[in-house]
Subunit: 491 residues, 2 copies
């Protein structure tokens, strides 16, 4: 197996190679669409299940809405339509027919043209709010707290596996509320749920904040987000939660009678995370040997590799290995005993390093004699010899330690790569020489934001929600600024 | 709440009303596409989770393939294309633009026409086998045992909620094997997995069999199926498993080197079940009061309804109700305590009957005095008074009993509605007067099958796989027949 390109040689190439070589995903025969391979999908399933649990714990239920949005519905909320119409898949016909000129070939049947074109959903606010219209009459029908797991399509021109694909998998929450306060609270709550998931499950520190008006979701009054820092110093938006005001309720005429008997438009939120998180996961933890996975997300948490010559040794090692496997499984730890005789131990070591298996147990005849095994951590590549007695508890604790260490390592990296700057010159210098997150002052105008973006490619990732407020003078205009905002180049 | 139309008055209307009134699904603004509402989706989630567990237990893994199939890939397997091209959604453009003549309106941008049209997948053999081509080189790459949970689109002209919709949710297994025997075994195994799921989880008896050549999946060499009998005497195909031979391997040039070093085409299966199972579930168990759910699939297994006057009584009842709820939850039973003060107990009783909650506990002040509650079973509408002491174990057992009873009831219904007939005249008479499954002899030709279908609308549901073989003379041609086959009118 050829080695991965190293991160320092070509970060982008390293990422692309790793996604394919670790069997996570690959490009398909359909432009911009990926195939998520079983190993990658198993990780996504763990993300999905954990998020789904958190959504249900916070009172949400799942439902399913149509894949297609009729053009007229799509048009109803103008900003949303404007934001998504430029990159969407349009269904215009509902039948193919045999090509009379080319036997065995099919052509679009011109007689099967749809009266109204259908858009493959790029996001579901339009189709969902046109449905909510029939569900909401009274304040007693509110709140509606629905989430959907679905595929969506955005016709991106430049695509990259997981990070930006024409089709991707995601969840989209769509809630309706009787009051503005309640909707704002929901949007904030779900952004916190995302932050909690990212930090405690993905071991990926994030900064919670608000988008500037120009970076908001098309149709939102306010967009909350979580922003993570990748190893190459670029930011990745890992989840967004939108307070949609009454925009969609007005566009789709969703009104209800409130407690006081008055008729009002409902208040809305939507919030989403996607398979993009897979990209974030990879770029937060992995190294030049391959994937590094936090134990929470590893399809295989522990692999046992026997070191043996001949069937007899394998049989002896297997006996002990299977006992260890059983004990670990009893503790809810997923274990693979790789007794394949085709591949050598060295090959297996490299393979499981590539796949990011958090803990490797190696066992040879000598280990058996000593009643011990060799344990290797994938995250920091350290090895230790551990007694077989009590091994299950040792590994249980080790997995927790790895989870914590991964988070701490990523947090340290972020700390080292956040710079406070106070002049535009310094800003450009840091951005070019170091990258990472930059905290700087901004005058609050779209003009300054735009100029910085055009001149440096850095955008305002968010206006952080933390309490760390410090007044200053904006980078270019020199106007007063109430607090620093977070800049970075971004995926 | 207006009563449901009764099954005897208008079965079809009863079904449509029930689906909507029990909050399972509704028609959307998109022709033929449904909205699966939270209550319906919660049931589907339980089906999905159980099937997913069974697939994993039988060695399968999940993956995800693109929504779109380029037209040229779709054409590659001729029969498959022929079978699905006539009812598919075709994406021809990738952008909308502002309509210069109508401000606020969008039109398809003629400059954004795709070079090659994309079909929204009606089934994924083509896209998946074009991918497997790159995954399969040696017998060591086989078998591939993949399942996908996805949405698919078939442009059906006449649609009905769950039973036949333009878009539906399903799972599709796609496996590749080194030998014919192994592929046949897989197709048979998965059909059995479906039968096991239907009978033991949905409490729905099914007959396992083979489709006749004219009823096979387009592109299959053999189609296995499970057939269930609905309460109106019509059959419903609840799952299919296909042995695809080497058809897709040949169409997509998927070859491998076998153990002997020879190059061969791979062998394939595919197998699927869909949200159609929701329709089967409803029509197997429900009655004129509403939904009847087997406990395994009920989002709420037990509802506690307090009977009270005034806050004080409610508070006293609540105390005991919450204790009962906690004990039931500890046993893994899902319980809702409906302490809503807006709706009367009678309204609640009707509501939970409509929703099919298997067990209702009613508690008033008198019950509290007697340290007992009233328990009502949804399936047979019987009531009993039960001591609060030991109630949790009582209910745990009761849920098991209900599950078994529902299966037995459906099995009895099927037994009563299977008729052996030996003449075409009798066949037509039974079909008209009684309906149900008919076991009759068939000469094995497409002609006789076609004639019977044209004249009676009954189709051969399957050639059963059971051992109950009895020779005879076919219905119309009078030719010898090795065994009876299963006829019925079908959904």
């Amino acid at each position: 197996m050829a080695k991965l390109t190293s991160r320092s040689d070509d970060y982008s190439k390293w990422y692309n190679e790793l996604v394919v070589k670790a069997d996570l995903a690959e490009n398909s025969g359909v432009r911009g669409c990926m195939v998520i391979k079983p190993y990658g999908y198993a990780i996504w399933e763990k993300m999905r299940d954990e998020m789904d649990k958190k959504f249900k714990e916070t009172g949400h239920v799942n439902a399913y809405f149509p894949l297609f949005v009729p053009k007229s519905l799509f048009e109803a909320e103008e900003k949303n339509a404007e934001g998504f119409a430029k990159e969407c898949a349009v269904v215009t016909h509902y039948r193919l027919k045999n090509d009379p000129d080319n036997p065995g070939k099919l052509i679009v049947d011109p007689e099967a043209k749809l009266e109204e074109e259908l858009i493959v959903r790029p996001t579901s606010e339009a189709i969902i709010w046109s449905t909510y219209k029939n569900w909401i009459q009274s304040y007693r029908d509110l709140p509606i707290l629905i989430n959907q797991w679905a595929n969506v399509v955005r016709w991106e021109m430049r695509t990259r596996l997981f990070l930006r694909t024409a089709e991707f998998l995601w969840q989209e929450g769509h809630t309706a509320h009787a009051t503005k306060d309640e909707a704002v609270e929901e949007a904030e709550k779900m952004n916190k749920v995302y932050a909690d998931f990212a930090e405690n499950f993905m071991a990926m520190p994030v900064i919670q904040g608000l988008k500037t008006p120009s970076e908001r979701f098309a149709g939102a009054d306010e967009t909350y987000c979580i922003e993570a820092l990748m190893q190459d110093g670029k930011a990745l938006q890992a989840g967004t939660s939108h307070f949609l005001g009454q925009n969609f309720a007005k566009a789709f005429d969703v009104k209800f009678t409130n407690k006081e008997g008055k008729i009002e438009h409902a208040w809305a939120t939507s919030w989403g995370t996607s398979t993009r998180l897979m990209g974030a996961l990879i770029m937060t933890h992995s190294d030049d040997l391959g994937l590094v996975l936090p134990p929470t997300l590893a399809p295989i948490q522990v692999v046992i590799v026997p070191i043996f010559k001949g069937d007899e040794q394998l049989a002896e090692i297997s006996k002990v290995a299977l006992e260890i496997q059983a004990k670990l499984k009893a503790k809810g730890i997923s274990v693979k005993f790789d007794n394949d005789t085709h591949n050598k131990p060295g090959w297996k070591f490299a393979e499981y390093e590539l796949k990011g298996v958090p803990v490797r147990i190696a066992m040879g005849p000598r280990d058996l004699e000593n009643k011990s095994v060799e344990i290797a951590r994938r995250d920091n590549l350290t090895k230790e010899t551990v007694s077989i007695e009590g091994l299950d508890s040792h590994i249980e604790n080790l997995l927790k330690t790895i989870q914590t260490d991964l988070y701490q390592k990523a947090l340290n990296f972020r700390k080292e790569n956040i710079t406070n700057v106070d002049s535009y010159e310094e800003f450009k210098k840091v951005l070019e020489e170091k990258g990472g997150f930059i905290y700087a002052h901004w005058d609050g105008t779209a003009e300054e934001e735009e100029q910085i973006k055009n001149e440096t490619k850095a955008t305002i990732r968010c206006i952080p929600l933390d309490e760390d407020v410090e007044e200053g003078i904006s980078l270019i205009s020199g106007k007063p600024s109430a607090r620093r905002v977070l800049f970075a180049k971004a995926y």
